[in-house]
Symmetry: C2
Subunit: 288 residues, 2 copies
């Protein structure tokens, strides 16, 4: 039994927030422009409200304005698209996030096509995903990028290594596969229909759990010494969060594991702020 | 030693061409519109010229008009983009292909952003790739789709099976990974930096070779009974084509292998025509 190192997100998140704050302060000083993020919400969901408040607080600390636009939880696709287009056209807005869950019958990826790519700080527009895949400049979805940032911050190399990504969502699994390929990892994408999940993950150097199923990954899924990143944020009965990895089971078998909360989450939020600061910086440079 | 079944493309290609021709004949009859494909070429490359002639011949047989727009092999990005935008705006054009190779210093994916998504019959616009990845309607790159069509035509299932894709290009490997995930395969993307290629491919039920290296895949890379699709089209000294798979080596070990030429190639060309016919059909429906 070796000790399982916690891949904590606090330190890399602080670095990213500092970077965002430095850019924000420079833009205010030199151009009189404060970076501004707008979160579009069309749900009454409590955990979403909690998450949006946490982004707003983190933005304030980084010197970034953060507003919320609330639409009814039964808003129609056309109404949401119109709002996103208006924000895309508003020069005082630098970053736009479309928060999920969305009203029934609407598609997040389809709606996010209305977010201008240069303001798409959470990489939700399919054009951003396509540009990412094609190796062209684009903002990656913050959660996917956070996985890579967290590994980088802890000195874990990716080139030539085998990475199993468990989960094939448009917001995490698929864009993460492209980010990892860009870093020369050999990438296997597994999912609910994978015939033998333990076989697929058991030969990987690094396992990323992004399936949205509490406790899915156990010691039986890991090669000894595997590095595990837990992207899961499953609500617990007592109002807390738990990951996709059974931390007790993998302790001693995994060489490292990112905690939930406190791993990928804070890095994700910090990346949204850093992306917004970068978007504002580019907008200011473009107008000079 | 079992016999290795050839996964030939002639029959599925004929089905797709027939489908394209039926649509084309219906459009001429009912709307007086002939589907029209335009291939933009900015190279003096001989094998490209050969390939474009073969598309033109196949289009003629399917009742689809096919024109070539020739730009100088030192054309600037802005000139190519302007041409693609003009074709995108031309209502008499239903499909636009930007042929590679392109002038040095230009990026195919970047330029293809100027092709209207509804005319992007070879899925080259990054928006098409992103929509494909997000599960939204879009034309897939014809070569990537041809791999799936060829397997379908030969009754080879994908759900729950392990597929190793060798090659991570924007035109084949990456979009193919998304098409395979959509079909519930477990997908591993390998490439030139993969540490142990034989280990990565050796546990797969299906291996797709799309690396652009003649003879890369040998019996040592395959589990006994693996199904192998060869996307390689490497020129031989005598003016022919050879694949990425060493056919002699894998004979008897692979359960099936697509030949080069005669496997993925004819299906790719037929899909370009089918996409053009579908694009024309949608354009006509949109104007009614």
């Amino acid at each position: 039994m070796t000790e399982t190192v916690p891949l904590t997100g606090a330190a890399p998140a602080a670095v990213l927030r500092d970077e965002a704050r430095e850019i924000a302060e420079r833009l205010v000083r030199e151009a009189g422009v404060q970076p501004r993020l707008v979160v579009v919400v069309a749900t009454e969901d409590e955990s979403t409200a909690w998450y949006v408040r946490s982004i707003t607080r983190a933005a304030a600390k980084a010197g970034i304005a953060c507003d919320t636009v609330r639409l009814p939880s039964n808003a129609e696709a056309a109404e949401i698209r119109k709002q996103l287009a208006a924000l895309s056209d508003d020069p005082s807005v630098h970053g736009v996030i479309l928060q999920t869950p969305l009203p029934p019958g609407t598609s997040a990826a389809d709606l996010a096509g209305a977010i201008a790519p240069e303001k798409d700080v959470d990489g939700a527009n399919p054009l951003s995903l396509g540009r990412l895949a094609a190796g062209l400049p684009a903002f990656a979805p913050a959660t996917a990028e956070a996985v890579v940032s967290l590994l980088d911050a802890h000195g874990i190399g990716l080139a030539g290594r085998g990475v199993a990504v468990v989960g094939r969502s448009t917001v995490v699994g698929k864009p993460l596969a492209h980010l990892l390929l860009d870093r020369d990892a050999t990438v296997t994408v597994c999912h609910s229909r994978t015939a033998d999940l333990a076989a697929a993950t058991g030969s990987a150097d690094i396992v990323v759990a992004a399936a949205g199923r509490a406790g899915l990954i156990t010691a039986a899924h890991l090669a000894p010494g595997a590095i595990v990143v837990d992207v899961g944020t499953n609500p617990t009965e007592d109002g807390g969060l738990t990951g996709d990895v059974d931390a007790r089971s993998v302790a001693g078998r995994a060489a490292a594991l990112s905690p939930v909360p406190g791993g990928v989450g804070p890095v994700t939020t910090a990346l949204l702020l850093q992306h917004t600061a970068l978007a504002a910086s580019r907008a200011v440079a473009g107008h000079q």
